[in-house]
């Protein structure tokens, strides 16, 4: 086809204009390439994150339904126990889980850090509501000055992983230990001049004769600004009076209380969480736990919204890249259309001659489009190369920000707990596979895997990306060539040539 030959020849004969067009298309291609690469990197990261971060499945007691239940139904209702949790965790669908226990104790040998702040108006209102629900006297009667909390896996304790609490001396207790040891706050240590290695004696809030002696193995500092939950100004709700023990030790206290103490205290906000082998197994897991006896008063929920919130920055970057891509394409089409228009107007005489000697409108249009296409093809190669080189550091930067957030969390765990072998399962986002804990950690051992974060993400300008860029180039060429088509079809060769004469 001679129009290919003519178009190719004209590309080189009209070097000046074509270099200008080539530069513009190259810039568009670079931006498109970067936009595509970042968009793909973002979407891949989101997909990988979702794939490698299992949802946390929780059971929430539906208090309103329970309140409305008949007395018989209330009597039949039995809240969750540790045994229930362990039973539910004994499933092929569960990769990992943890639960928390809590007890309130007193001491005759150490003083609690007192909270002298008075509640504000809003707190008073809440206070009244709470008193109506439980009765203040009853609550105070059962609550000592200290609160002991145990996590079956402290790696899940977000106050420490987020850095609000930090081990400043000694180390954190572990879920696997059965020693009578705990960690106390720095405020409490200072108040009673305690240090790591000291032993303290605690007693039941209701029975000072039942005592428990614990060794302090770590001291933590709480950097959170306030303790909003302590609206009743009880010492036990002061975070400085919170002690952390292992499950076995706390279990002894709960056993000594002689009540239904193995129940999880849902009203205190403590709960169990299960991590499944696959995020799409939530429905199957719910079905399984219902069969195992989970009461209908418990609803099964996940932290999917929290994860989505965590991914929001990446999704924003991805969305921004996509919009950037669209804007670039629109601008590219407009700019190329204008350049084509100006180019064709300058070459009106040529169109007139070609039409006068019998070249059809479509072939003239085709030749002009081909000329732009040849330039676009060369620009595509150059632009893709530049885009590849420049999109890599941008994507790495984007990834670095993400990795930094994960790394800081990991560092928090190491620094705050005073050890580096505490980790949650499946935070490895490097290869699309979650971490594989050696055993389920709830109440027993900790996971021993370490998290290997991705430190770089290779931007691959693969065949699909090249084809997409090629498609975009064709789109740009055809769209801007459409302008050529419209203009050429409006020209009357006779008028062009007469005007020139």
């Amino acid at each position: 086809m001679y129009i290919f030959k003519n178009a190719f020849r004209n590309v080189f004969r009209n070097r000046g204009k074509n270099i200008l067009i080539g530069i513009i298309i190259t810039v568009i291609t670079v931006c498109t390439c970067m936009g595509l690469a970042i968009y793909k990197a973002g979407t891949n990261l989101v997909a990988t994150y979702k794939e490698t971060n299992p949802l946390a499945v929780r059971f929430n007691l539906d208090m309103s339904t329970l309140r409305n239940a008949s007395d018989d139904e209330k009597n039949d209702f039995s809240s969750l126990t540790v045994e229930d949790i362990q039973n539910y965790a004994d499933s092929d669908l569960v990769k990992d889980y943890y639960y928390t226990l809590e007890a309130s104790v007193s001491s005759t040998t150490i003083e609690a850090v007192s909270d002298n702040e008075r509640p504000n108006a809003a707190d008073e209102e809440n206070n009244e509501v709470e008193e109506r629900e439980f009765g203040k006297g009853q609550m105070e009667g059962n609550i000592g000055d200290f609160r002991i909390t145990a996590y079956s896996n402290f790696a899940y304790f977000s106050d420490f992983t987020n850095g609000d609490k930090k081990i400043v001396e000694g180390m954190m207790v572990t879920g696997s230990s059965d020693e009578d040891e705990f960690v106390i706050s720095k405020d409490l240590a200072d108040e009673n001049e305690l240090s790591v290695g000291d032993s303290i004696t605690l007693c039941l809030a209701t029975d000072e004769d039942t005592t428990f002696t614990f060794e302090i193995i770590g001291i933590y500092q709480d950097s959170s600004s306030s303790d909003a939950s302590n609206f009743m100004t009880m010492n036990a709700l002061n975070s400085s009076n919170q002690l952390f023990a292992n499950v076995e030790s706390l279990q002894k206290i709960l056993d000594a209380m002689g009540e239904d103490d193995t129940k999880l205290v849902a009203s205190n906000g403590l709960s169990a969480e299960f991590y499944l082998t696959s995020n799409d197994q939530v429905d199957n897991f719910e079905e399984e736990v219902r069969e195992k006896g989970l009461s209908d008063y418990y609803t099964v929920s996940t932290n999917e919204n929290e994860i989505l919130e965590t991914l929001q920055p990446i999704q924003n970057i991805s969305t921004f890249s996509f919009h950037f891509l669209i804007v670039i394409l629109v601008i590219g089409i407009v700019v190329l259309a204008i350049i084509n228009f100006l180019n064709i107007r300058d070459r009106k005489y040529e169109i007139g001659v070609l039409r006068a000697i019998g070249m059809s409108k479509w072939k003239v249009t085709g030749q002009f489009v081909l000329e732009v296409f040849f330039v676009a093809l060369i620009s595509l190669v150059i632009g893709t190369a530049i885009g590849f080189v420049s999109s890599q550091p941008i994507t790495n930067q984007m990834l670095k920000i993400e990795i930094d957030s994960y790394t800081s969390k990991s560092t928090s765990i190491e620094e705050n707990f005073g050890r580096n072998d505490m980790s949650r399962p499946a935070q490895d986002i490097s290869g699309g596979r979650g971490g594989q804990p050696n055993e389920k950690s709830g109440g027993k051992g900790m996971t021993t895997n370490t998290t290997d974060y991705v430190t770089s993400l290779e931007v691959q300008i693969d065949l699909i990306t090249i084809l997409q860029l090629f498609g975009i180039s064709i789109l740009l060429t055809i769209t801007s060539g459409g302008v050529a088509c419209i203009i050429v079809n409006q020209y009357n060769p006779n008028k062009i040539l007469q005007n020139r004469t």
Partner: protein
């Protein structure tokens, strides 16, 4: 007697539907004859050539090419295969060389020739373009040379009709004679119908047959064989 290759019947033309620049024109053209269409500026000569060349169409009257209604034909094909046009302003593509201009014309007409470049050289040589000029870009050639290239282009696809619009209008007298000689030679020796639109007395004296246009009308007395 040889059949008319081109016949104009009752042809009128208007650009604005009010003032007719051509009025009821009747003409006949045969192969082997050089025709001259004369008239003052504004007489409608160039409009007539545009219609004969298929660059314009009219709702009033007919032009028949080999007894086919020209306005019903594919005019692109007509222009690239059936007629060769030589313009006063040459209308060659300046970014191409002399050879490329001629070859392009053959390409557009899809001429069945093995070696188009060889034929282009032969044609350029025939119209008096020296070998060393053939690979020069058009703007590096003189006006006379450009017009010769334009004639070579018009001949390149063996059309039976050559339309020349003021082919000597931009040339000096010596060059004018050479171009007229060339066109007459094409008509007589190559048995082509050559139609020259001009107001040159030189052309008027040398063509075989004359048509005279006055204010868009054909003057009968002018339609006489010389």
């Amino acid at each position: 007697m040889e059949e008319n290759i081109l016949r104009v019947e009752n042809l009128s033309f208007t650009y604005d539907k009010e003032k007719f620049v051509l009025k009821d024109i009747n003409m006949e053209f045969k192969k082997g004859i050089a025709y001259g269409i004369f008239g003052r500026s504004g007489a409608g000569k160039s409009t007539l050539l545009s219609l004969l060349a298929g660059l314009e169409t009219s709702k009033y009257g007919h032009i028949y090419y080999k007894n086919q209604d020209l306005f019903q034909m594919n005019l692109d094909k007509y222009r690239c295969n059936e007629i060769g046009i030589v313009f006063q302003a040459y209308n060659l593509l300046p970014q191409l060389t002399a050879i490329e201009n001629v070859v392009l014309s053959m390409d557009i007409s899809n001429l069945k020739v093995k070696d188009r470049e060889k034929k282009a050289k032969s044609l350029l040589s025939k119209v008096g373009i020296r070998d060393e000029m053939m690979n020069r870009r058009i703007l590096q050639l003189s006006g006379g040379e450009q017009q010769r290239v334009a004639i070579a282009r018009a001949l390149s696809y063996d059309s039976e009709i050559i339309l020349a619009d003021e082919p000597t209008g931009n040339l000096d007298p010596e060059m004018e004679d050479e171009i007229i000689d060339l066109l007459l030679k094409i008509a007589h020796k190559e048995n082509k119908c050559v139609i020259i639109i001009s107001h040159s007395k030189n052309v008027k004296q040398r063509v075989d047959q004359l048509y005279h246009l006055v204010n868009g009308r054909l003057i009968d007395s002018a339609n006489e064989e010389k």
